[in-house]
């Protein structure tokens, strides 16, 4: 993956979001193996401890399982993917609302604008 980080959010949170996006989009499938900590750290140009922290959090959330000798694996079923998609999309929608309300639009304007958006 091509990692690009924004400066003001902890990197481990951005890695978590990146991996979640990959799971939802199907780039990672259930039971795929995740890169080793050091491998991902090198690839993304970040500290291995940061990757470790992101992986630990993904494990805590039950999206990743670690096998003692063979590494870490994506562990999701259809239900979980749907739930994850909902979480991530809610976040984008929330951001969109924040920006559009800033432009002075009310909620009806926003829904109409989405429906009539020409870039679909």
């Amino acid at each position: 993956m091509n990692w690009k980080f924004s400066d003001d959010v902890p990197i481990y949170l951005q890695i978590i979001e990146g991996i979640k996006t990959d799971i939802v989009s199907g780039r990672y499938k259930g039971s795929d193996r995740l890169p080793a900590v050091r491998e991902l750290a090198m690839d993304a140009g970040v500290n291995p401890n940061t990757v470790q922290r992101a992986y630990a959090e993904l494990e805590r959330q039950g999206l990743v399982q670690s096998e003692r000798t063979s590494g870490r694996f994506v562990s999701v079923d259809e239900d979980k993917i749907r739930e994850l998609r909902k979480d991530l999309s809610n976040e984008y929608i929330r951001e969109m609302y924040v920006h559009l309300r800033d432009l002075g639009m009310d909620d009806k304007d926003i829904v109409d604008a989405v429906k009539n958006w020409e870039g679909k």
Partner: protein, 231 residues
């Protein structure tokens, strides 16, 4: 385990106080940024840890030992200037490091130099500035040390070389070691840091995990630094 500990550490040059009553404790397995403007005491602290200087007051220890030949065997130090004889070529430098440091991993150094296409027969004085810095970093990171002291490892090289240098640091330190990187180019290093230490006029004004710092301030380390050190 603590790798580097400073207790009420001070250093004076004549009547100028370069470090003032510094308390600092660094854990193993961390990459720590020693961040401060020019003249804030970064190099002085690093030189005290490598025993190029001795404290005026207070104490500094590395893995429990005061700096000595014992700590020099476990500290790998990259000074902020060219410190190697410039007539030496790659081969000579490998031999020098092999002779001096029992923890030097020659195979690793050769592998890195080969991957950078460094001509082993070219003397240092004929190398470009960037190549020289890379060679010195490779030598420093090819030791299996407990503490790496990197004084301005990325100053004066282009962004691609910076990337290479940072990746070399990430991929070569092991979990029991601590890496202390001094720099004022914060934006370039902050993605690889576990912790940030801010030095201001010889005093520590901040020592915090980078994630916590970003979470509590909503700012990058670079932005926060600019705020703390606004002129």
């Amino acid at each position: 385990m603590k790798t580097l500990v400073c207790e009420s550490l001070s250093k004076d040059y004549g009547n100028i106080r370069a470090l003032d009553d510094v308390d600092l404790s660094l854990e193993e397995g961390k990459i720590v940024g020693l961040l401060g403007p020019n003249g804030s005491g970064k190099t002085t602290l690093i030189k005290l840890a490598s025993r190029l200087l001795v404290p005026s007051a207070g104490r500094i220890t590395i893995c429990g030992e005061e700096p000595s030949e014992i700590t020099k065997a476990i500290v790998s130090y990259l000074p902020d200037r060219n410190y190697l004889p410039d007539w030496m070529n790659g081969r000579d430098l490998l031999d020098l490091y092999k002779d001096f440091f029992a923890d030097f991993d020659e195979d690793k150094a050769v592998e890195m130099m080969t991957s950078l296409n460094i001509d082993m027969n070219m003397p240092m004085k004929k190398m470009s500035k960037g190549t020289k810095e890379k060679v010195q970093l490779i030598l420093t990171m090819s030791r299996h040390a407990k503490l790496y002291l990197l004084d301005e490892p990325i100053a004066g090289v282009d962004p691609a070389a910076r990337d290479y240098i940072l990746r070399t640091i990430i991929s070569n330190y092991d979990e029991n070691a601590t890496v202390l990187i001094s720099t004022h180019l914060i934006a370039d290093v902050e993605n690889v840091l576990d912790e940030a230490v801010f030095l201001k006029e010889g005093r520590i004004v901040l020592h915090q995990g980078v994630d916590e710092l970003k979470e509590s301030t909503g700012k990058s380390v670079d932005e926060y630094f600019r705020e703390v050190f606004r002129c």
